[in-house]
């Protein structure tokens, strides 16, 4: 069997499990997994930069925040439509990525990390102080969750937890399909080549700048949608969404799940959110445990959870790449 087919089976298996989850009727887990699904889109969008292009951004939470605030404001003040909210989130987030990206992608390595951090903290500060628009420190409450209008024929209510869960699952899975398609295209291969050797890519007659900017906008586009889904899910949002510790958390998820695989970071989001939730039941010092787990991963499973799994899997079944 080929790696490609195994991946397909693996993705389908996860999708079916997630699709069946609401049958359990456990609202606590439906809620938790809605968060996991939305955040996994955010983490995987970051992996377009980290895992594929080799650009470590320290300000990725800014897209979550931009997406969330945009969709919240659009749905509250302009027109209550979930699709419009998500669409505007994607557009604003991409536009921001394009504008800021022009400055950011010129530099690489630590400098890229620092400049993305600086821009995200700037947006954090603006969100924090622009009280008339964003509600400032208090955040925004009462974000609506309008019905999903399907082709003007049928209204699908998103009020219930299960329905919003299914809505997020379908949106995020379709976006994963699109993302995978893009990353497997010539464009995606160029991104990987840039990660391996940006200088050589220049000498292939390819503008590294344009492709890095493309990756940045793409990443912002998907992350913005994650934000657009997140706001109506939580019902309230605050500037904390953009704070740099959240950007750090997204990187942790990437490392935990494995940045060398497509699905890895998404799994990482699941691991971290579930761990946090479980450890919090016992102690509020969850960060100590999380830190220890992270050290363990970095030292003994540098390929992350998915990297570790596929390595073992290949060993047992002697699969050739």
């Amino acid at each position: 069997m080929k790696i490609k087919n195994i991946n397909k089976i693996f993705y389908t298996f996860i999708f079916i499990l997630l699709f069946l989850l609401p049958i359990s009727g456990n609202f606590y887990y439906i809620n938790l997994f809605t968060e996991i699904i939305i955040i996994s889109l955010l983490v995987m969008s970051l992996n377009i930069l980290i895992g594929y292009t080799g650009m470590i951004s320290l300000g990725h939470a800014v897209f979550l925040g931009l997406g969330a605030y945009t969709s919240a404001l659009v749905m509250k003040d302009i027109y209550p439509s979930i699709m419009l909210g998500i669409f505007s989130a994607a557009i604003i987030s991409s536009l921001y990525a394009f504008t800021v990206g022009i400055f950011c992608v010129r530099v690489s390595g630590l400098y890229f990390a620092m400049i993305t951090l600086a821009f995200s903290q700037a947006i954090y500060t603006i969100t924090y102080y622009w009280t008339s628009l964003t509600g400032g420190d208090d955040g925004m409450i009462g974000i609506p969750r309008p019905d999903l209008n399907i082709l003007g024929i049928y209204n699908f209510s998103l009020e219930s937890l299960e329905n919003y869960y299914y809505f997020s699952l379908i949106v995020v899975s379709s976006l994963f399909y699109v993302m995978k398609k893009i990353l497997d295209s010539p464009f995606g291969t160029v991104l990987q080549a840039i990660r391996e050797n940006p200088e050589r890519v220049q000498f292939l007659g390819i503008s590294v700048f344009r492709y890095k900017l493309g990756a940045f906008v793409l990443s912002g586009f998907f992350a913005g949608i994650a934000g657009g889904l997140f706001a109506p899910f939580q019902g309230f949002i605050s500037p904390e969404l953009i704070y740099w510790t959240r950007s750090g958390e997204i990187i942790l998820m990437t490392i935990l799940g494995g940045m060398n695989s497509f699905i890895g970071p998404g799994i990482g989001a699941g691991i971290l959110i579930l761990l946090k939730d479980n450890i919090l039941n016992y102690t509020e010092y969850w960060r100590i445990f999380l830190g220890s787990i992270l050290i363990f991963f970095v030292l003994f499973m540098p390929g992350g959870f998915v990297g570790f799994l596929s390595e073992k899997f290949n060993e047992i079944f002697k699969i050739k790449k």
Partner: protein, 248 residues
């Protein structure tokens, strides 16, 4: 226009050091030109100036009658100058096939297709296999580049450069670190390439230089000290001194 590449008073200063000093080169079409000189003579710097990796302090680079001095590397490649590097410069974690495939796609301007499947580019796949054959890596096309020997990696790099179909190809020490057998293969390959392409190369191994070069240029401390056929260079007194009295 017989000269494919010319440099006019090309100078590059690093602080007070003139790494390349007033170099006037004229490279004729479809000849093999070697640039030799002791370590630190400015050979690699000259290559970097021609290919846009660094900007000259003064002077011009003219390719096919048009100035390319201030262009960025990727624009210069698009004009038709390909280059391989002194230190092997490949994509380590891509497969051997993909290393060349990406260069083929770049050459046919198909890298920005964001929704196409790689396997849909039949024409480019065919070209990639042809190139793999040329550089004798057909059997290793699906291998990881990490499994290649040093000589094979150099060949892979050459394959990447050839995929760009350059009119002028710059090879920086193409046989460095190769075994005798590998060297011979690479020499044959360079001679084959030169049927269609102008080759400009640097090399430390003088036996290779005198065997394949049509014209040799000698650089010493950033300056051209001699220029001519292998015989003239061999008997040039100044060249012999530059190489510390070593008769070449």
């Amino acid at each position: 226009m017989n000269n494919i590449l010319e440099t006019h008073n090309l100078t590059c200063e690093f602080g007070s050091l003139k790494a390349v000093n007033n170099v006037n080169l004229k490279i004729q079409k479809q000849k093999i030109r070697a640039i030799i000189g002791p370590n630190g003579a400015g050979k690699t710097t000259l290559f970097n100036l021609i290919t846009g990796k660094i900007r000259p302090s003064s002077g011009k680079v003219i390719f096919k009658g048009k100035e390319i001095t201030k262009m960025s590397p990727f624009q210069i490649v698009k004009k038709g100058i390909g280059r391989s590097f002194q230190i092997t410069n490949i994509f380590p974690r891509l497969s051997v096939f993909n290393n060349i495939f990406i260069a083929v796609l770049a050459n046919s301007n198909k890298t920005f297709h964001i929704f196409s499947n790689l396997s849909s580019f039949k024409n480019e796949i065919g070209k990639t296999y042809d190139l793999l054959k040329t550089v004798e890596l057909s059997e290793k096309s699906r291998s990881a580049t990490s499994s290649l020997s040093h000589g094979e990696r150099r060949n892979l790099e050459l394959g990447i450069t050839l995929a760009l179909k350059p009119e002028l190809i710059l090879l920086d020490e193409p046989t460095a670190g190769m075994s005798i057998e590998e060297t011979q293969k690479t020499v044959n390959l360079i001679q084959k390439i030169s049927d269609k392409t102008t080759v400009l190369f640097t090399e430390h191994d003088m036996s290779i230089v005198f065997k394949i070069a049509d014209i040799i240029t000698v650089l010493h401390q950033g300056k051209i000290i001699a220029d001519g056929s292998p015989e003239t260079i061999q008997n040039n007194h100044e060249v012999q001194i530059a190489y510390l009295g070593e008769k070449i």
